[in-house]
Symmetry: C2
Subunit: 414 residues, 2 copies
């Protein structure tokens, strides 16, 4: 038997106890939060190994920073665990119900998905974040983190397992795959016997690889080629402000924008104002011919690849369009279906945009940066689904559940 | 460009118009119902070709019967279409919403999935059933039916396309793959660029093949190894009645039972009563040693394979168990997660059973034969999901939708 099959079987068994664990789940979460603080020296020591290896292997300063765990960050992670403990338990919620004409009572109830696999990259805090969201929603999880963080991840997983056990639950509710070769991640993607769903968290390459190779059901997350369309009736200052925020407040995240589309009737007035705001952060613009005719040659010419690219950086593509239809057609062609915004004063255009644009989050006069479980009031987030099956948009605890029908009666037959 | 890519692109384009088609969808459904009746001679003629080929190829009488379309059945299909037209439109339903502290208004709204692929076997009525459920829920569909029904399916698809066009919608909302080679079904399973979900409808072999080979998201349907557990406190007549109904009212369907588990404290009294009822329909019993000790050697001995088998026939496996825990462990090991029932007078055992057993439908004192969209009040059904992702149990119109978030504000930035 392969190690992964043993882990799968243990996870399945643990998930059955977890499905009916009720308040013990919160006991386990509180124990985890406490143990993280109590063991912070151990965590920092393990993390130091990863940081040293990272420097030896020439990781960029940005990646080293994502890897790092210090007292403040561990405190942040522990606080996050307590916040999840304080959220309402989704399991057992009655979603709908009725009494049928024959007297049988039907209700549709939230139940856990079962066993969730998570494949993620270098940030070790994901190890805890993902595990506690799975735990709270009654799911056992099998975690497969990146090799850069393996020492930190192992330390965090052991601490969580001990804490879970101390709360009277099966420690195999949370398991970490310690083998970080490509093979182990392929095995997880093919673990159809035990895994109910696999969620990749990380860059485009990782997500593509999982979607293309997994045999288990996958929730695709994260890729965000997001747009702002400045309609001809837009408040120009509002448009510039939203664009500035959506591009520069955190360019590396998936809800940041990559392309703006500007109506030709407002372009001459709006583009200079928008550019002036973006110049504050030295954002590089890449424009279509009409854009460059207005803003001049300091704007680089954009080509097809610019419309397709999620820069994740201080770069923004700009296109002048002749109508809302052209804007929506551009979005339909190039968007990854994450978040799009129209800035407009026109009620009808707002309605056309929100009903036609087919993305997880469609905004009117609001920055796309709000696409986030916390910001949407879901309490927590394990990722942002950009697929349509199961769920779309930020995934909170409810999105980590399935349903079952319970039917009670007194001998009804058909 | 392959034919399947052309069909995919046409379906995607059609799905965008269908997403905002509103009442026109019902116009199209009514036109389809009318056209089916008006063209019934044509349909019956095309169907005759399939029946003749079927007889030539030695199809069983049961399969020939499933293939057959006559006036009565066409009327039944057309009436079904009108029933779907009369159901509420799921698209645009606001599932939840709130105003966030910063004043932005969020709502989560039902939207179509987009393009749905359906792979099915010999029953030509599925061609219409599946197409109209997709149409009503705003989804374009690509249908791939079995070769036995290809002449009927082509005729039905043309009639539907004409009717859809007459209602002012894009006829490519419904497309049929006319190539019935294995290759065409593999191509559909790999059509990741255009397909949002693939639903197989048919026997175990078909479903397995789709789940294992598809690269697009799949909703697994149908396999039903269902159980009734007769608890020690059961009303014996009620138990016998439920078992009789769940086994014999229609043995070939997925919500029929295959194994009963009987508590040892009631087995001696209950088994003869149950057997007497089942004898009315000559149901073959295959029992464990304890069962045979009570009922005698006329009951064949059951082996491991009997616990695993979905007979789909007048055969029932019988096992005596020493506790509800043993019953639930047996179900956890062998069930396909479709429908299970406990017959009991004991309140606590009823609650333990419904909260622990991990199946789409869990019954107390009700026949498993009710697991059905119509019986559950969903109005219609495209299949019964036995997976946990997206949905579980009977799938009605709501289950053919996704969601999007719409956020409206007045310049909020983060």
């Amino acid at each position: 038997m392969r190690i992964i099959d043993e882990m799968g079987a243990k996870a399945k068994a643990a998930s059955r106890t977890l499905a009916v664990a009720g308040e013990k789940k919160n006991d386990a979460l509180k124990a985890i939060a406490k143990a993280l603080i109590e063991n912070q020296d151990k965590i920092i020591e393990a993390n130091k190994l990863d940081l040293e290896n990272g420097e030896k292997n020439g990781l960029s300063a940005a990646l080293i920073d994502r890897l790092r765990l210090d007292e403040g960050r561990i405190k942040g992670v522990a606080d996050g665990v307590l916040e999840v403990a304080a959220l309402p338990d989704p399991i057992g919620t009655v979603i709908s119900g009725s009494t049928r004409p024959n007297g049988m009572e039907i209700r549709r109830v939230r139940v856990p998905l079962g066993v969730i696999g998570i494949i993620f990259e270098s940030r070790p805090n994901v190890t805890v974040d993902a595990a506690v969201l799975c735990l709270k929603s009654g799911n056992a999880c099998i975690l497969r983190g990146g090799k850069e963080a393996i020492n930190s991840n192992k330390c965090l997983a052991y601490i969580m397992q001990d804490a879970i056990e101390s709360a009277g639950l099966d420690k195999n509710c949370v398991q970490l795959i310690e083998d970080t070769t490509r093979q182990s991640s392929v095995e997880l993607m093919e673990l159809t016997e035990y895994l109910d769903v696999l969620i990749p968290r990380g860059g485009k390459g990782l997500i593509r690889a999982v979607v293309e190779n997994a045999k288990v059901p996958v929730i695709e997350t994260g890729a965000g080629n997001c747009h702002v369309f400045v309609d001809e009736s837009a408040d120009i200052d509002m448009a510039a402000n939203i664009i500035y925020n959506a591009k520069t407040s955190r360019p590396s995240v998936c809800n940041a924008i990559e392309t703006i589309l500007v109506h030709e009737n407002i372009a001459e007035k709006a583009l200079p104002v928008i550019k002036a705001r973006l110049d504050e952060k030295n954002v590089e613009l890449r424009g279509c011919e009409k854009t460059r005719a207005i803003l001049g040659d300091s704007v680089k010419p954009a080509d097809e690849s610019d419309w397709e690219t999620e820069y994740g950086d201080y770069i923004l593509a700009v296109k002048v369009v002749s109508s809302i239809d052209e804007a929506m057609a551009h979005i339909a062609k190039y968007s990854t279906g994450h978040s799009e915004c129209i800035v407009t004063k026109d009620f009808k255009n707002a309605k056309i945009f929100t009903s036609t644009v087919d993305s997880a989050a469609v905004y009117v006069n609001v920055s796309t940066r709000f696409t986030d479980g916390g910001m949407f009031g879901l309490g927590a987030e394990i990722g942002i689904s950009t697929q349509k099956l199961h769920t779309r948009g930020p995934m909170g605890l409810n999105e980590l559940t399935s349903v079952k029908f319970i039917i009670e009666g007194d001998g009804q037959v058909r």
